[in-house]
Amino acid sequence: MTDVITLSKTESQIIGIIAAQAMIDAGTLSAQTKLADLALDSLMMVEVVFGLEEAFDIAIPFNANTNSPEFDLTSIFSIAAAIDALRA
């Protein structure tokens, strides 16, 4: 339960975007959730990245061919950290 309580605003927004794409209940996601566990296909991943860019007004260096080592899309937490770094 502590995960839910300690979600940052960024993390909450990310969860909303990913839950909508994965068509799952946002309440089932936490900061520790790994994207690999959500069965997102390649089209969903591109939509997630687009959704994040629109929501946070950032440009994410994501390339579907290389899995973008420069922007860590592993988990909600890593995405939030990468977004905060981009906006810092």
């Binding site: 390649s42 089209l43 591109v46 990245v49 687009f50 440009a59 260096p61 994501f62 390339n63 579907a64 061919n65 290389t66």
Partner: protein
């Protein structure tokens, strides 16, 4: 069934503005991919491409023609002129009704669309150029070629994304073979390499920021090109009777549909297209010497194409010469198959197989003989050209030595 010869070839692409200069670049492994030169480059994430450089359309077309020709149609008409000149074909009144033109393009007049949208949306103008519609229609290239050479028979344009030109040439082959025409100018062109076109491709996240390296472990995606190629496809008896130069024979064609995914390729669909094309040509897999691969440089295509080739060719796969010349002329989208027929013709005619340039590191999932970086000499009797499009539309052509 009738046999089909190729009696002329023409092209405009990033490697050259004609066949001779394109062959020279292909044989030398000299790529046409480089920094883009276009307005608003600072707003693009992808800043490289295989642009047609030094293209002075006004030297080739009158002011009247220029007002009617989007760059995609300029490339097609210029290529058709070269092909007709080489072929020496004269379209008499008798021949005209038995002569046509079939071209492939994925997007048609996208420069015109791009410029017109910019005018009305970005610049707030309330009118666009008077010939915006006839410039942007995807069949404009075929129409202009039909008018230029008095081709009054079957003429139209095919659209199947990156397989458009192979579908166009395959249909031309089938129509000639079946007797629906005696001559068909076939090929395709594309001019999507503009700000709007690149923005669309960027959004899909499959573009490489730093070069096209098909079948290489470090491959990072595709690089867009532009241009086109047009060939004179002709009934063999008709070609021989008039003493035409015969560059190659079209031996087989097949098309399949994956019916599975709008962007991810299917191994099964690619396999079936290659198998059926070999069967259509009346050949066996071991008769094929060279494959010009679809080889986009994306993670998925090159792995799946390799697996499909291994399945179709079995143990003979390791003896095949395979290259992706997209590493040099970029991905011409709907024009890809047309320009990629040129390295097939070069291999058949000159025994020179164009390389896959930019190759750095072996990928165990792409372990075929991809002729890395340097062209090789080999006697080629049969060449295959693959096109596996987004949306799962596959088209494979097989050519034989003249």
């Amino acid at each position: 069934m009738r046999r089909v010869a190729i009696t002329g070839a023409g092209t405009v692409n990033a490697l050259g503005h004609d066949v001779v200069s394109t062959y020279a670049a292909l044989a030398a492994g000299q790529g046409g991919i480089g920094p883009l030169d276009m307005p608003d480059l600072d707003r693009l994430a992808i800043k490289i491409g295989a642009q047609v450089r030094g293209w002075d359309a006004s030297a080739q077309f009158s002011a009247r023609e220029m007002s009617l020709l989007d760059p995609f149609a300029q490339f097609a008409v210029a290529a058709a002129r070269q092909a007709m000149a080489q072929s020496g074909l004269i379209v008499t009144d008798d021949l005209a009704n038995r002569a046509g033109v079939i071209l492939g393009t994925a997007g048609g007049g996208l420069s015109t669309t791009n410029d017109s949208y910019r005018a009305v949306y970005a610049e707030g103008k309330n009118r666009v150029a008077p010939f915006t519609v006839p410039r942007l229609m995807a069949s404009a290239g075929a129409s202009h070629i039909s008018m230029a050479f008095n081709l009054r028979g079957p003429s139209f344009t095919t659209a199947s994304a990156c397989a458009s030109s192979n579908h166009a040439m395959g249909l031309a082959f089938q129509m000639l073979r079946g007797g629906a025409a005696d001559v068909i100018l076939a090929g395709g062109s594309e001019a999507m390499l503009n700000f709007g076109g690149l923005k669309a491709w960027e959004a899909l996240r499959v573009m490489s920021p730093d070069g096209c390296r098909p079948f290489c472990a470090s491959r990072a995606g595709m690089v867009q090109g532009e241009g086109g190629a047009v060939f004179v496809f002709e009934d063999m008896i008709h070609a021989r009777a008039r003493g035409a130069p015969i560059l190659a024979e079209v031996l087989g064609f097949a098309m399949t549909s994956d019916a599975s995914d709008i962007v991810m390729p299917s191994q099964e669909g690619a396999e079936r297209a290659m198998q059926m094309a070999i069967q259509d040509a009346g050949l066996l897999p071991q008769d094929v010497d060279y494959i010009n691969a679809h080889g986009t440089g994306t993670a998925a295509n090159d792995r799946i194409e390799t697996a499909a080739i291994r399945r179709v060719f079995g143990k003979y796969a390791d003896e095949l010469a395979i290259s992706s010349t997209k590493s040099m002329h970029g991905h011409l989208i709907g024009g890809a198959g047309a320009v990629e027929l040129l390295p097939c013709l070069m291999a058949l005619d000159q025994g020179i197989i164009a390389p896959t340039i930019g190759y750095q590191t072996a990928d165990p999932d792409c372990d075929l003989n991809v002729i890395p970086n340097i062209a090789t000499r080999r006697s080629v009797r049969v060449a295959m050209s693959n096109a596996f499009a987004f949306g799962g539309m596959n088209a494979v052509l097989i050519l034989g030595r003249a």
